[in-house]
């Protein structure tokens, strides 16, 4: 019976490309994750207290309107554009917890949030909450010089204009042991299709501590260096398949993240549009109200082809509205031209357009210092379709 030396066993494993590549990749990932944790949380990532969590109903709304119950706090209104939800604690050592993770839903544009903490010396510090997609990113407190000593209270300040109620589901204090799971969780936050998606994706990546693409590239590179070293010192033979295997695994790791996002987005798309006709899809889309208005406008247009001049202050509404008016011959613009440039029979459509108004009694369209006699075909709030006399 012979006993194989460890280097002999490694050499044997490394001769199998299908095994060598994953092993190298895994080893590299482990090394780099250890380096990351040690660099950011020197020693503390090995041990630490269990997470401490409080559900939303443990918070007190000291400013603003809302209610608590069923493990949540719902903020329905602000007081002077501010709401404050606070949590009194028995006290804990800041150094024990590297992360504070708020779980909040219903965040809308125009609202900013700040995390406040009070020390035993009654000093108050704050940090703005950042968002990854529509999820509040866990705050890494370990590097914050003000996060130290005994903490006696936590609070969340909501500022701005609340378009809809928002819900605080809870807050958790996490030790440095949670660093890696938090990082991975951030990587897998869904990124929905948005207007910018056609130009770039993953815009939040550059704000993250560890950028997924760079991290995976580093893992693959280190794995290749390890492999090169093992070949140089004759631990394993150099095999091109292993090199490409490592590159493939790096690619696949990023692609799993991307594929996961695509599938989650596809499910949202399915819920929103599947099984609908072409027109129903547009009605269900984000600009459904605009499509509906333009559909009504098209129905009331004279049968004879003619010019349509469509005006809106908003870039998106202007371009998109013009598209919905096609195949009628439409010009979309921001500013109305001089009255002399209109012709009798021209159709004028106004949508979300300020500084232009229609006087129903006088049947006159006015803007700037210009005016034009026109008949109303549609008047719907501030939106209108008119025919020039």
């Amino acid at each position: 019976m012979t006993t194989e030396s460890p280097s002999g066993a490694i050499a044997r494993l490394m001769q199998k490309p299908w095994l060598a590549a994953p092993l190298l990749f895994l080893a590299s990932a482990m090394v780099l994750s250890l380096v990351y944790q040690q660099y950011n949380f020197s020693g503390k990532w090995l041990s630490g207290p269990a997470p401490s969590s409080w559900s939303g109903d443990a918070l007190t709304l000291s400013k603003g309107q809302g209610y608590s119950g069923k493990d949540k706090l719902v903020i329905e209104g602000l007081e002077g554009e501010v709401a404050v939800a606070s949590l009194s604690l028995p006290g804990f050592q800041a150094e024990d917890f590297a992360f504070v993770d708020w779980t909040i839903t219903g965040m809308t544009p125009g609202v900013e949030m700040e995390f406040l903490w009070r020390t035993a010396e009654n000093r108050v510090f704050k940090r703005p909450l950042t968002w990854t997609g529509d999820v509040a990113a866990p705050l890494q407190m370990a590097g914050d010089k003000s996060w130290r000593g005994q903490i006696a209270g936590l609070a969340l300040v909501v500022k701005g204009r609340l378009a809809a109620p928002m819900t605080i589901k809870g807050v958790s204090l996490l030790s440095a042991r949670a660093a890696l799971p938090i990082m991975i969780k951030k990587w897998f936050v869904i990124e929905r299709w948005q207007a910018t998606s056609i130009n770039f994706i993953d815009g939040d990546a550059i704000e993250q501590d560890v950028v997924p693409v760079t991290a995976i590239a580093a893992i693959a590179l280190l794995a290749l260096v390890l492999y090169w070293g093992s070949a140089k010192y004759k631990i394993a033979p150099l095999n091109v398949a292993v090199i490409w295997g490592v590159v493939f695994l790096g690619w696949l790791a990023l692609d799993i993240r991307w594929q996961t996002n695509l599938l989650r987005q596809l499910d949202l798309t399915r819920q929103q549009f599947a099984g609908k006709s072409w027109e129903e899809k547009h009605l269900a889309a984000e600009d459904g109200a605009l499509f509906d208005f333009m559909r009504q406008a098209r129905a009331k247009l004279p049968a004879a082809p003619g010019r349509i001049l469509y005006f809106s202050d908003d870039d998106f509404l202007r371009g998109r509205g013009a598209y919905h008016l096609l195949p009628r011959n439409v010009l979309a613009d921001n500013a109305l031209p001089k009255a002399a440039q209109f012709k009798a029979g021209d159709i004028v459509v106004l949508y979300a357009k300020k500084n232009a108004g229609y006087d129903s009694a006088r049947q006159v369209l006015t803007w700037d210092d210009q005016s034009l006699q026109a008949d109303a075909l549609i008047l719907a709030g501030s939106n209108a379709m008119l025919r020039v006399r």
């Binding site: 490309p17 207007a195 130009n199 994706i201 590239a217 790096g250 991307w258 072409w278 598209y323 440039q341």
Partner: protein
């Protein structure tokens, strides 16, 4: 009935491309089915738009039957011309059936991943109404009008429209853009029998599928074995920015990248073997770039230095280097100036800010590891870069990079780089070519050409 129509809308151009790419004078003797199918659809799609333009010129009203009949006649003519070419294609040495052990499992896994990806992207196209900005601002606008009118009504700038100087003219955000992309949507709408701004975009899925086929076929032609060839095909089809342009169909950039990439791959093979089919196809697809988008003229021109180097290696290399240096000096000497190039008003002004490029190429996940891999390939294979087999492609890559560098560092397009609106779309034009370059640079070709 609609499904049959859609199938006809996709298959007729495909068949048209396939039969004509087998025409006897092209000598399609050394190509494989994936290559023929891949090139066939894109060639056929572009040809369909040319047929439509010809019909319009002849005063024939667009309709499924008028266009379909013209395509059918051309398909019959192409099939008749290629009647003596054998349908049994060449096989390139070992195929996937000959793979053993884990390689076969890996091959099947890659195929499955690609299939899932393309299926998901296809469903996005089918379910989501026209979404991205330019798609409804400057491409589908023309498609909608031409579909309803049945002819190519002119599109003019807003000032001309307002003045009423061109009778029956329409206007949109880019009235001067070429008609190929909207004409593809028009043809699909006729095939469907109604206007539907989701289903008319199925050619974008076809573009991705056939780009993958062509890439795989050409990689195999470069004597890359089946598994690495499929792995790189997967790399290409999984590029997030490419996927986005399939899922949110309606932009021209995917077609631009596919057509340029197919031209580059064929050019690579022609430069090594002087194969007539590859040379003819490279020329056709390089010219095809011009049909898609204004910058296509620039992309087509990037082949000229590469061609020069292929025909006159020393003089071409020295000349290209000289042109590069003189061009750079001229650009710096000109300084701030307004010019009009290829229909674009350009304000020349030098400003080199690499941050948006670094962020978009190497931090945000627009390209997975493509740029790291390309950089690694260049470092590891630097000796091969100017070897006779790769020289043409290298110069093509340099030309393409120079084209983008001039646009983004010397013109007002730098603003579109800084706000991220154009960087990745422009890079998408060269991404398939670059991926193929990495393949030929990194993977050692086998010594013998497999029979």
């Amino acid at each position: 009935m609609e499904t049959i129509g859609l199938m006809a809308g996709l298959l007729l151009p495909w068949l048209l491309g396939v039969v004509w790419l087998r025409a006897p004078w092209l000598r399609a003797t050394a190509i494989t089915w994936p290559t023929l199918l891949g090139y066939g659809y894109l060639a056929g799609a572009l040809a369909t738009t040319l047929v439509m333009r010809l019909l319009d010129l002849l005063g024939v009203r667009f309709g499924f039957f008028s266009i379909g009949l013209a395509l059918l006649v051309l398909i019959c003519a192409g099939a008749w011309l290629g009647r003596k070419s054998p349908w049994k294609m060449e096989t390139l040495g070992a195929d996937w059936r000959d793979l053993s052990g884990w390689r076969k499992a890996a091959y099947a896994l890659l195929l499955a991943i690609i299939a899932v990806r393309l299926a998901g992207l296809g469903l996005e196209i089918v379910w989501r109404p026209l979404f991205p900005w330019d798609a409804w601002a400057q491409w589908a606008t023309k498609a909608r009008v031409w579909y309803e009118l049945g002819h190519l009504a002119p599109f003019v700038p807003a000032s001309e429209w307002l003045a009423g100087s061109v009778a029956g003219a329409y206007t949109d955000a880019a009235p001067h853009y070429p008609p190929a992309i909207p004409l593809l949507q028009v043809w699909m709408s006729y095939a469907l029998g109604r206007w539907d701004d989701t289903l008319m975009n199925l050619p974008w899925l076809m573009c991705a599928v056939t780009l993958g086929l062509a890439f795989y076929g050409q990689a195999r032609r470069a004597q890359v074995t089946p598994l690495p060839a499929l792995m790189f095909t997967y790399f290409l089809l999984s590029l997030p920015m490419l996927d986005v342009h399939v899922a949110l169909a309606g932009y021209s950039d995917l077609f631009m990248g596919a057509v340029y990439g197919l031209a580059a791959m064929a050019f690579f093979h022609w430069s090594r073997t002087r194969d007539v089919w590859q040379g003819a196809v490279a020329l056709l697809f390089a010219l095809g770039c011009i049909l898609i988008k204004q910058p296509g003229i620039g992309w087509a021109l990037t082949f000229l230095p590469a061609l020069w180097v292929v025909f006159m290696p020393r003089a071409g290399t020295a000349g290209t280097a000289a042109v590069l240096i003189l061009g750079a000096i001229a650009l710096f000497a000109i300084g701030d100036k307004n010019i009009d190039l290829l229909g674009y008003p350009l304000h020349l002004h030098f400003s080199a800010d690499g941050t948006p490029f670094r962020e978009n190429m190497m931090a945000m996940d627009n390209w997975h590891l493509l740029w790291f891999m390309a950089a690694g390939a260049l470092v590891v294979s630097w000796r091969k870069v100017l070897a006779p087999s790769c020289r043409g492609m290298t110069v093509l890559l340099v030309s393409a990079t120079t084209f983008l560098a001039v646009v983004f560092f010397f013109t007002q397009a730098q603003a579109w780089a800084k706000d991220y609106t154009t960087i990745n779309r422009a890079l998408l034009h060269m991404a398939p070519m670059l991926m193929f370059y990495v393949v030929v640079l990194m993977l050692p070709a086998r010594e013998t050409d497999p029979a």
